[in-house]
Amino acid sequence: MYKWIHQFGSPKYFYDISLHLSKWVTIVCIVCFIGGLYGGLVLAPADYQQGDSFRIIYVHVPAAWMSLFIYVILATSGAISLIWHIKITDIIARVSAPIGASFTFLALSTGAIWGKPMWGTYWVWDARLTSELILLFLYLGYIALQSAFDDKRIAARAGAILALIGIINIPIIHYSVEWWSTLHQGPTITKLDKPSIHLTMLIPLILMVIAFKTFYIAIALIKTRSEILKYECNSSWVKKILGN
């Protein structure tokens, strides 16, 4: 297994794979995106209670899911780069942090917009929105720490430690916010949760989640490739690529 990771870790090998991979990933992303949007906005019937405003779910839930998913990727790639000293995972972590932060911001803003028709106010101290807000602070802390170092390698390792501490704290934060919010408002029936929706509403949601995931992979691959070029600028294969 170690041989596979090390081989996968070599920048040149990763560069070639990523070129091949990103073609497919972008195709899947576009297809799912169009399918999900069409299904969500047009086909799915209006919700009996909230009418059409529930369609925001097709953007809010995938974004919220992606924000947590990318933080997990930060932590795991950090752990891998700490244990096996692989350069690729450093780059992947550093590159996916801004994407994760943008998804968290997206989840927050769509959640707030969805709150308006539901509760009449934009920002509501709902448990999920609050833990999403704290997750945004964790992201901003991670990005700020990464940019505070000038040596890229040390920045990646420091970020790895922060991400690992963060990942341990996320369940604690989530549970404490749940505890706190149920205490103050009582169990609000939040429509943010995935309501037990039947098929026609669920399929577009799954399509959108896949679309967001492939979108993240495609963007991360592009950024990783440019970072690899920057890293390996004095090695021969990069000169060959840049030559033509």
């Binding site: 000038d150 040596d151 390698r153």
Partner: protein, 209 residues
């Protein structure tokens, strides 16, 4: 019979290569001087040897085992003195020395006055460090050499801020240590007059050895 060796060491600072493919093997009684212009990576090389800086290419071996495998066994055999002399300003000379002594982990009682006399600062036990001159602070930092029992010494510019007489004391100390079978690697940019002792020297120009 212990052995300290480095294989094809490479150090990159802000992606310009300080040194590449550096090999070194030292047995008991070895003495190595690293000299080179400022910023040519002397201190980085020393810190890599001591295990302070983690490296990705090349390896540092103690008794043919990579130091990351047996870090604490390696660290109980080394003494590292950097540019800063790692003494606390608000403590007296003696308090600083008690802490240094307890960090070495040796049980034996140590008479601080004799050590201070040997280093040329006799009678300054109760003086606070912030009242001392730079040379005296450097000497207080170098009292570690008297209290340690580790075999491998890494000294970063041991002679700066030392007057003629201080330099003499430290040179004799290094020679005795190596004569008794110890290994010493030190950096200096002045020419060192250790006469009568075989001296390996590594000269670091900007990007090759």
């Amino acid at each position: 019979m212990s052995k300290f060796s480095i294989n094809n060491l490479e150090c990159i600072r802000q992606n310009n290569i300080l040194f590449k493919g550096l090999n070194l093997t030292m047995e008991d009684g070895g003495l190595v001087q690293i000299n080179g212009a400022n910023g040519s990576g002397k201190s980085s090389l020393l810190q890599i040897c001591a295990g302070l800086i983690q490296i990705t290419t090349g390896e540092v071996l103690w008794n043919n085992i990579n130091i990351n495998q047996h870090r604490y066994e390696f660290q109980s055999n080394i003494l590292y003195i950097g540019h800063t002399n790692a003494i606390k300003a608000t403590l007296t000379a003696e308090e600083n020395m008690t802490i240094i002594h307890s960090l070495t982990g040796s049980k034996s009682k140590i008479n601080y006055s004799t050590i201070l006399k040997k280093i040329g600062m006799s009678g300054m036990n109760k003086i606070f460090t912030y009242n001392m001159s730079a040379g005296q602070k450097r000497r207080l930092g170098l009292t570690r050499l008297f209290m340690t029992k580790s075999k491998l010494w890494f000294l970063d510019e041991p002679f700066n801020a030392l007057d003629k007489e201080g330099k003499k004391i430290i040179e004799n100390l290094i020679i005795n240590h190596c004569a008794k079978g110890g290994i010493t690697i030190f950096t200096t940019h002045q020419k060192m007059e250790i006469d009568g002792y075989p001296l390996q020297s590594i000269h670091l120009r900007n990007n090759n050895v």
